[in-house]
Symmetry: D2
C-alpha cells in the first residue's frame, strides 16, 4: 500500500481519491474547498492542510485540476509543488489540459528529481465513482507501469498512448472524433426523420452498417430511442456541452499550433460554441440535435 | 424457383444476377452493353434482347441503374417498362437514387397493377460477388417479405427501413454518416500524428473508447495501420471518391428540399468535391486523409 | 407604349406591374388572388380573368412566380401558356428560379415561336415600389435590348449576364456571396466586440480596409451602428431569412449538379437553415448575428 | 525631428525605417541580420550594435517582429528592453501579434515609466516602401496623437481602434473577414463559370450589386479578370497564403479563448491550412481559387 498525495477533489477527483483510500492506500487529500476535503476525509482519506502537506512523504501524487494554467501554476516555478515533492515521487496528472503544459510539467518534474505521467480520463462522474474510468496515459513505460496499480483501482481501461503529453493528445483526438460522431449521427437521424423514417429503425440500420459508431451503440441523441441515454431524460446528466466545448478548444488550439487541418473538428467546435451561447452549456452534449432542429432554447 | 427480369448488369448488377441464376432462378438479363449480357449469360442467365423481353413473364424484376433519371426514364411514361411488366409483378430497384424518384416509381407501379420496393445496397463489388450485400429496403411489408428470398440470395443483411423510398433514405443517411466518420477519423489520426502519436496506437485507443466507429474497425484510412484496408495499398480498390460524392450529393439535395440542417454532412460533400476535382475521383474514399495532409495529388 | 401581360402580382410583382401601367403601358394583369388583381387594377392596370387572357394580344409577358416548378408548370406542356402567347412575343421571367428551368422555358419559348429572357431582380419590395430594382438578365442581346425599355421602368440597373439562364446564375452567385459576406461580417463584428471593440469603430475601420463590402456599406448587422438598417429596428423589414435560404438552396443544388466546391456557401446555407428552423425565418437575414450570439430566439 | 529606435528591419520594417530616416528623423536601427542593418544604414539610418543601443536616447521605439513570443521575449522580463528605454519613451509595436501579448507589453511599459501603442499594419511590402500603409492602432488617445506624425510618414491611413490591444483585434477581425471574402468570391466566380458565365462579366455584376467587396474591387482571384492582380501573374507577389494562415490562426485562438463563434472564419482557416499543406504556402492567398478547382498543385 502506498502513500498518495491527492490534489483536486471535485466531482471527478473526489470519488477517485475515495476509491484509492478504500483500496487501502494512505491518501493525503487537499482541495481549495474545505467541504470537498471533508467529504473525502469522511470516506477514509487524510485531510491535508495544504498542497505541500499533501505531497509530504508521498510516493505518488495525483492531481485533478480544471485547466493547464492551474496545473502549471501549482507545480512549476520557484515555489512550485515539484520542489516540495519527495525525490523519486511520481506525479500522475489526470487533469484534461493541453499537451504542451503536460510536457512542460513532465520536463520540470524530471529536473526536480521526480517523474510525471499525464493520465487524463474519460467516463464521467459515474466512471469516477464506479472506478471504471478509461485512462489515456503519456510518459515512459517504467513510470506507466509503476502507476498502473493505482490506475487500475480508479479505472477499468488503461491505454499507454506514448511519451509525455501523449495521453492528452489521445484524449483530445478521441473527444474531437466523438463530437464529430455525435453531430454527424444527429444530422443523419434528423434528416432521416424529416424524410419520414422512424429514428429507432434508422438507428438500428446505421448501427449495423458502415455508419456504426459508439454514439449509436450507447448514447443515441434522439429522444426515446435509447431509454437510458441523456436524450431520453431531457438531455440532463451525461457529458455537458461546456465540457465538450473545452475539449474541442484544446483540439482547435493544437491544430492551429501544428498547422493541421481539422475541418469537421473545427466546425464541430463552432457549433458547440453557438449551442453553448444559446443557453445549452449545461445540457448533455447530445442536445446538439436540438440545435439542428431549431429547438435548442 | 422464380422467373426474374434483371436490368443493369454492370459491376454490381452483373454478379447479383449471376448469384440469382446460380441459385436456380430463371434470370432474363438485359443491359445496354452486349458484353455485359454475355458475361451473365455465360454464368447461367438467359440473354434478353431488350428490357421488354427481360420482364416478359417475370414475377420479379430487379434493376440496378446509375441514377434517378435512368430509373424514371426506364419505368415511367407512356412507353415505360411498368406498362409491359406482368400484372402483379414485383419490381426490386437496387439502384441508389433519390427517394423522390423511388416514390414516384412505386406509385406508378401500383397504378400499373404491379408493385415496387426500393432496395439499395452497400457492400461494394466484393459484396455483390460474394452475395453478402446489405439491403436497405423501402416498401410495404408484404412486398418486402415476398422479395426476401431473392434478397437473401444476393445479400447477407436485409433491413426494412419503412415505406416506399425509405430504403433510399436509410442508405443516404448511413453513407452521409460514413463520410463524416471517415473524414473525422482522418482528422483525428492526422492531428494525433502531428502531435507525435503512433497512428496504430491512437487507432486502438479511439476504437476502444468513445470515438469508436466502423471506419476504425475495418477501414482505417492511415496507411500501414490495417493491412487489408485500401489505405495500405495506395488507396486502390474499395469505395471510390466519386461514388461517395454522388451519395453526398443525394443527401445534400434532400437536405435542401426538406430544409434540414446537415452542417458536417454538407462540409463533407464540399471536401469530397474538392478532392475529386483535385484528381482523386477514382481513389478510395479513405484517401481524403491525403487531402488533409496536402498530399492529394 | 406596349401591351404587356403580367402574371404574378405579389409583394414584388404587384408594384412592378403598377410601375409599368403608370408609365403608360397597357398592363393585362393576372394572379391567383383576386385581391392582388384588384390592387393592381386600381392603380391603372387591366384585370385579366385568366393567365390566357392576360397574354392575349401582348407583345411582352412578364412573370413573377415563387419557384421553378410554378414557372415550368405555367408555361410548359401541351396546355402551357407558351402555346397561347402571340407569335413573336417576348417573355420576361423575373422569378428567381433554377437556371435549368429557365433554360428549359427559353428553349420551349423559341420552339413555340416566342422568345424568353430570364431577368431575376434584387432590391426587395422597396426597389419594386420605387422602380429601382437591379435586373440580372440572361438571353440573347437582341431580346435583352428589346426588353430594356420595360426593365428601365421597373429598375435602375440592368446587367446582361450571358445566354439563357445566365441571369439566374448571376443572381444565385451574387446572393451566395452576399450571404457569406453577411455572416462573415457578423462574425468579425461579434469577435471584435467580444474582445472589447466598439462595433461602430470596427465597422468604420473594416469598411475602409480590405474587409470592406456592401454589407458594411449599407446593411450593417450590428444593432445601432446604422440607423436605417434592419438591425436597428429589431431585424424587421429587409430581406427575410427564408428568402435567403431559398437562394442558398438554389446555389447548393447547382453546386451539387456541376460538382463545384462551395465550402463557405454550403456552410452559409446550413447556418441559415438552422436559423430559420430556430424561429427566425421571417426576420431579416442580418439577424444571423443573433444566432452567433446565442440570442436567436 | 525625433530620435527613433527601430528594431526589426525585414521586408516590412526595413522600408518603414528608411522612410522615417528620409523624413529627417534620427533612426537608430537594429536587426539580428547585419545585412538588414546595412541596407537601412545606407539609406540614412544609424546602425546600432544592439537593441539596447538602438533605444538609447530615443523618444520613440518602433518594433516590427514576427510573432507575439518575439515581442514578449524582447521587451518583457527582468532584462527586457523596456527597462533600458528612456523614461517617457513611446513604443510603437507594428508587429502583428495576439492582443493578449500586446496588452501585456502595454501594461509592462506603463509600469516601466514608458508607454506603448499596438499599431499593426496592412498594405504589404509595397505599402511599406511607398509609405502608404494602413495602421490600426490600440492605446490611449494621447499616445496615439503623439505617434501620429511618425505613423503619417510610414502610412496613409491611421485608425484608432480603441485601448491597448485594440489595433491587433481590429486587424485580426479585418483579415478574417478578408479571407472569408476571398474564398466566398472565389466560390461564386467558380460556380458561375461552371454554369457558363464569363468571370469578368460576373465580377462586374457582383461588384455593382450586393455581393460587392474589396476583393472584387482590387484583387480579383480569377486569372485574367484584373490585369494587375496576383491572379493574373501566376499568384506570385501579393499577400502569401502562409501569412493569411497566421492571421486566421490568431483569430481562431481568440475565438476559442473568448468562446466566440466564427463558423466561416474557422472554415477559412482550415481551407488555408490545407492549401498551405498542399504546397501553396508561398503563393498569393487568392490562389485559394485553385484549390476549389482542384488545380492547387
Amino acid at each position: 500500500m502506498a502513500t498518495i498525495g491527492f490534489i483536486g477533489l471535485g466531482n471527478m477527483g473526489g470519488p477517485m481519491a475515495i476509491n484509492l483510500a478504500k483500496a487501502g492506500h494512505t491518501v493525503q487529500a487537499f482541495d481549495l474547498s474545505e467541504a470537498a476535503i471533508k467529504r473525502v476525509a469522511e470516506a477514509g482519506a487524510t485531510a491535508a492542510a495544504s498542497a505541500a502537506e499533501a505531497v509530504k512523504g508521498a510516493e505518488f501524487v495525483v492531481s485533478m485540476l480544471p485547466a493547464g494554467k492551474h496545473v502549471r501554476g501549482l507545480f512549476l516555478g520557484d515555489d512550485g509543488l515539484l520542489g516540495q515533492m519527495e525525490q523519486g515521487a511520481l506525479l500522475i496528472d489526470s487533469s484534461t489540459i493541453d499537451a504542451d503544459s503536460a510536457r512542460a510539467v513532465a520536463e520540470a518534474a524530471q529536473a526536480a528529481g521526480c517523474a510525471m505521467i499525464d493520465a487524463p480520463v474519460s467516463g464521467g462522474v459515474a466512471g469516477a465513482e464506479g472506478g471504471t474510468l478509461t485512462f489515456m496515459v503519456g510518459g515512459n513505460s517504467a513510470d506507466v507501469d509503476r502507476a498502473r496499480p493505482l490506475l487500475e483501482v480508479m479505472g477499468a481501461k488503461i491505454f499507454h498512448a506514448g511519451d509525455a503529453g501523449a495521453g492528452q493528445v489521445a484524449k483530445m483526438c478521441n473527444n474531437m472524433l466523438l463530437a464529430i460522431s455525435m453531430i454527424g449521427t444527429s444530422e443523419a437521424l434528423n434528416l432521416g426523420v424529416s424524410e419520414g423514417l422512424d429514428p429507432s429503425v434508422l438507428s438500428d440500420i446505421m448501427q449495423s452498417a458502415s455508419g456504426g459508431n459508439w454514439v449509436l451503440n450507447v448514447y443515441n441523441p434522439y429522444p426515446g430511442v435509447m431509454e437510458k441515454a441523456p436524450a431520453s431524460r431531457g438531455y440532463t446528466g451525461g457529458f455537458g456541452t461546456a465540457l465538450m466545448l473545452k475539449d474541442l478548444g484544446l483540439a482547435a488550439d493544437a491544430a492551429v499550433k501544428c498547422g493541421s487541418s481539422t475541418p469537421l473538428g473545427g466546425l464541430a467546435r463552432q457549433l458547440y460554441a453557438m449551442h453553448a451561447a444559446g443557453g445549452s452549456a449545461d445540457k448533455d452534449f447530445s442536445s446538439i440535435l436540438q440545435m439542428l432542429q431549431g429547438k435548442a432554447q
